[in-house]
Amino acid sequence: MIHWLLEPFQHPFNQRAIVAALLIGFTNGYASAFVVLKKSALKVGSLSHALLPGIAVAILVAGLNDWSVFLGSLIAALLIGLGSLAVSRGSRLDQDSALAILYTAAFSGGIILLRRIGVAQEMEGWLFGNIMGLRDGDLWSNFWISCGALGVLTALHRPLLMTLFDAEVAATLGVPVRALNYLLLAVLIVVLISSLQAVGCMLALGLLVTPAATVYLLTDSTNAMFWGGSLLGGLAAAFAVLAGWWLNIEQGPAIVLVLGVGFLLAFLFSPKYGLLRRVPAPGW
């Protein structure tokens, strides 16, 4: 039994996967507070799908390496995000519809392209993650991405929070609301890319929404949402990697499933906002 429990810690690829899960879960958990407070989960979800065609084109043009995948997916998500803005401004269509059209079309193109350039066996990894396949270099690039994203979000915490609470009031206090909104979206895209290897672009959204959403049902404190989301994201992801090894299930879906179960528990049993909270008895 003890051997079974400790076994995952003995293999280097498992140790890497656990460290990566902690790192990626922590960063995504922190950033997820912004997604939840901005109420933009679906937009971020669309952008996570937009990463795939960028990966395909990058592999086609520059071959498979860390930087081609990072830059390719970043550019694709930015192009599709800004493209949807251009379409909605230049026509009578709303931005959500424009975004849906662009990202599904690009996603389809990405799938067709990925199959043609002979990396079909890796397709599942790009879609659902392959955290066991991480190399040391991946771990380092994830580390730097996490540092950068956390640094920017922490440095701009005050103006970002004001923008999320009330953009108009923030503007009357001298906050450059529009620039910050673009910057926030760019940082969120980078965070999505960092979680590609862990959970893939289909599941990345779960990691970038669920942690803070769960804490949101448990607390009224903004700080708790950020740091609680980070801790929950990191610990849940690491636990899921271990559980995946013990129970022989895929780690990427396991991470998102563990987070989802955590959310369900908070939804039902949160002392303050849970469905089954003790409703005060009516006075008589």
């Binding site: 407070l37 005050r158 609470f165 108009e168 404190s221």
Partner: protein
């Protein structure tokens, strides 16, 4: 009844003037406001009165620096208002605020101090003192750690006023502050606005309840896409003025939607 003197006005012998000249504001190609001119100063409580879509919110936002000005000028204390100013505080309509946001009363009031503290600097002792003073002045000390959805409408309005006080604003722009409040909260808010005015601030609020205009305000701006009339309540808030603004006489005591 004596009032604390509004510190920023106390040491200046003269009044602080807000002057709007031939203001025109456009939404896309539509003229939301044009030919709006008036001048008022610190120590006045001004009501914006007009039918829905008359441009009351637009005017408030333009003075707050939230909307681009198509033509005309806004002067505050002799300088042109082009963008935001710490001295001008804008209080949104209550229904436009996300009350479920995980933030406490104190958290909202602290936001008023961000212009002074900047994006990174920790709050100084002066900042903390201003925050506590603002919370105390608005009678929110007991409620400071409450999440903002767990407040009554009148208390929520006072949270935003406290934020404006922490900001040390001279001009308070309120978008329909009385809408949705019960009778007692309305009376309390009216007293608060009177106090803030008498301390030397300039209060400008859009207002719907015709019955209370005379009790709360000193001056009235009648608005219907353009300025119909501006001046002291007695001279402007008349039957003729209201007919010119609404097309018919709004029934006294009723909220005009």
């Amino acid at each position: 009844m004596t009032h604390l003197t509004h510190d920023s006005c106390a040491h200046c012998g003269h009044h602080h003037e807000l002057r709007v000249e031939d203001l025109q504001v456009c939404y896309r190609e539509l003229n939301a406001l044009q030919d709006v001119s008036f001048a008022t100063s610190c120590g006045a409580c001004v009501a914006l009165i007009g039918p829905n879509g008359a441009g009351k919110s637009t005017l408030l936002k333009a003075i707050a620096g939230l909307l681009p000005i198509a033509a005309g000028r806004i002067w505050w204390r002799g300088t042109k208002v082009a963008k935001w100013s710490r001295e001008i505080a804008y209080l949104p309509q209550r229904e436009n605020v996300d009350w479920q946001f995980p933030i406490t009363v104190r958290g909202v009031v602290r936001m008023g101090r961000y212009p002074q503290a900047g994006w990174w600097r920790p709050f100084s002792r002066a900042d903390e003192a201003a925050i506590e003073r603002a919370i105390g002045l608005m009678g929110l000390t007991e409620l400071a750690e409450r999440q903002i959805s767990q407040l009554s409408g009148g208390q929520q309005q006072r949270v935003f006023l406290a934020r404006a006080l922490a900001q040390e604003a001279h001009v308070l722009l309120l978008d329909e502050p009385f809408t949705g409040l019960d009778r007692n909260s309305k009376a309390a808010l009216a007293t608060t606005l009177r106090n803030l005015t008498e301390e030397g601030r300039l209060v400008i609020a859009s207002h719907h309840d015709m019955a209370t205009v005379r009790d709360i305000y000193d001056e009235v701006l009648l608005l219907k896409r353009r300025a119909i009339a501006f001046g002291p309540v007695a001279g402007v808030f008349t039957e003729a003025g209201l007919v010119a603004t609404f097309g018919a006489l709004p029934a006294a005591g009723k909220e005009v939607a």
